[in-house]
């Protein structure tokens, strides 16, 4: 483990830890003084420094304003490794491959949704189960699962679930071309086949929200966010047991194949395969398949959300997918590093891609605005819509924050709050919660998280993701 150093201030919103020990590049931290102080309290700075010791790392090891302690990499960490001489590291993508966020914009107003909020939450809870313990409404055969792993949500559209526009408005169109289902173990498939269309628990949720404030009218309009009071739906989920097992499987394979790497690491969770090795290629193909599964999961959840809105508000209810972003993923991308164009494996773990206007990865619709970014707050607090920038391309490998970031342990949160009391407090603020477990609610209490307002302020001021709109919750369903 690298020894923690006090970062040096570059400007109001960024800090640096110069190379020391085995670090190959410096560590750059996007934070305000307030957020940096919190980061110094756990091990995330050391973790960011450890990431800087991995082979073929380019430019900087980077930490986002919401960074906190993870395993191996910090959560909120970004690193880019040389295409040939670098590495690919499953733990630096995260166990929940393609954990991410989808936003749907509706044609309903907050007043009419408030009138039927309990009915709506009951319907959402029925149509989108938390799915812990294998209770999905969409059980797949192994052959069908292989199609999902290979083709992503496109396969579901062919079956009448979701629409083509959902595919257009999704990072990578919901399909990583390199996905190979044969690289995903039987065990991972067994875990995933009964979990499609389920939320999971922990910090995963579905939130019915309204637009509280628009900062950038023109961009918001292109995103389908037209006025304050408009109702939107935010979905936060990932690849469920399939992705978690895939990460574990390849961590083990890499340990067994590269014992010399395993023994040389400052932290066992950082295990990697050299980018040129067969195992790195195999993991990447499996990770792509798990990512496709996660996009399909959020796609199906989006479809089920439409179903619930129609059940409660009738056929007039229209929900359009604004976009869907991954915040745990590795991708091969071309970046300008020290004035030179290079292909790199960008690992984003708890970080959102933030591509600028004109990037060819973006759908035509967003060519002039840049990529939509969604930063969910904790339960009961604001969430934000941002837009990608050229500065993010130059300074953070086209990445920004992904959420509020935890501040307090679940144990302490459970001691401080009781689920049912929290529910009453939230109801006083007109935020309604339907959950599988009240203990799960107290663990996710808003006070257990960092201030999301501060996180997005840093993103905006540092220029790596600019503010577009603020969203406030009406109702939440969670596992």
């Amino acid at each position: 483990m690298e020894e923690k150093k006090q970062p040096r201030k570059l400007n109001e919103y960024s800090y640096v830890v110069e190379r020391t020990g085995n670090m190959k590049v410096p560590l750059k931290i996007f934070a305000s003084e307030k957020l940096l102080k919190k980061m110094m309290e756990d091990q995330c700075i050391e973790q960011g420094m450890n990431a800087a010791t991995l082979p073929g790392i380019k430019g900087y090891s980077i930490m986002m304003p919401d960074a906190h302690q993870g395993y191996g990499f910090s959560i909120g960490g970004v690193a880019a490794f040389d295409k040939e001489k670098g590495c690919i590291s499953p733990g630096s993508v995260g166990f929940d491959v393609n954990c991410g966020v989808r936003l749907l914009a509706s044609n309903l107003e907050k007043e009419e949704v408030y009138e039927k909020i309990n009915e709506l939450l009951d319907s959402l809870f029925k149509n989108i189960p938390p799915g812990v313990g294998g209770k999905s409404l969409f059980k797949l055969s192994h052959d069908e699962l292989d199609e999902v792993l290979k083709r992503g949500p496109e396969y579901m559209v062919g079956k009448g679930i979701g629409i083509k526009e959902d595919l257009d408005n999704c990072e990578s169109n919901g399909r990583m071309e390199d996905a190979d289902p044969s690289k995903v173990t039987r065990k991972a498939k067994d875990r995933g086949k009964g979990q499609l269309g389920t939320l999971g628990s922990g910090n995963h949720f579905l939130e019915v929200q309204y637009v509280n404030k628009i900062f950038n009218k023109e961009t918001a309009k292109t995103f389908g966010i037209t006025h304050e009071g408009q109702v939107v739906i935010l979905i936060h989920s990932g690849s469920r047991g399939l992705g978690h097992q895939t990460c574990s499987d390849y961590i083990r394979k890499m340990e067994e194949n590269f014992p010399e790497i395993k023994n040389s690491l400052p932290d066992k969770n950082l295990i990697y395969a050299p980018a040129s090795s067969q195992l790195a290629k195999d993991y990447y193909k499996a990770m792509c398949a798990a990512a496709n599964f996660a996009w399909t999961n959020r796609h199906v959840i989006g479809h089920q959300t439409r179903k619930s809105f129609k059940e409660v508000f009738g056929e007039k209810a229209k929900l359009e997918t604004v976009y869907d972003v991954a915040h745990n993923i590795a991708k091969l991308e071309e970046h300008d590093i020290n004035g030179e164009k290079s292909w790199v494996w960008v690992h984003r773990k708890g970080a959102t891609r933030a591509f600028p206007p004109g990037n060819k990865e973006l759908p035509l619709k967003y060519q002039e605005t840049g990529q939509p970014i969604f930063i969910p707050g904790s339960m009961g607090t604001s969430s934000y819509v941002l837009v990608g920038t050229e500065k993010a391309m130059l300074e953070s490998f086209g990445s920004t924050a992904h959420g509020a970031g935890r501040l307090m342990s679940r144990k302490k949160a459970n001691e401080n709050w009781k689920g049912q009391e929290l529910r009453k407090d939230l109801e006083k603020e007109k935020i309604y919660v339907k959950a599988a477990s009240w203990k799960g609610v107290s663990e996710e209490a808003p006070g257990a998280y960092k201030d999301v307002d501060e996180v997005v302020k840093v993103s905006d001021k540092a220029g790596i993701g600019k503010l577009v709109a603020q969203l406030k919750p009406i109702g939440v369903t969670k596992g």
């Binding site: 097992q245 961590i251 679940r410 144990k411």
Partner: protein
Amino acid sequence: MGKPYEFLEHTADVKIRAYGKTLGEAFKNAAIATTAVMTDIKQVKETEEKKIRITANDRESLLYDFLQEMLYLLDTEGYLAKSVKRIKIQETKTGYELTATLIGDHAQHGYDVHTYIKAVTYNEMEINENEKGVIIQLVHDI
């Protein structure tokens, strides 16, 4: 003998410390603690046994795979282990082998799985053995 396991402070995830007179007993208590993270373990009935066998190169990997097997059983069958019996850990030519019988029930029978563990991690994992016994520490990703 003090408590079989306890939960320690960790910002984002769940940190467990499990104790035992032997390695097997400490593994068993780590497994019970894992179920206790996910559900109210006192409520879980002992209706079904499951025999498991795990092999790994070292003790850390053995612990990882043993607990990961519990997550697999939860995802595929909704199975929750209340206890572990006949746990045996032995050295083999290539590393270690664990055999054990889990005793528990299925979540479909009405248990509230309030916290889902995404994965076992190596983060802060320690297996310390001395003349007094064995202490295990590990962090689960939530």
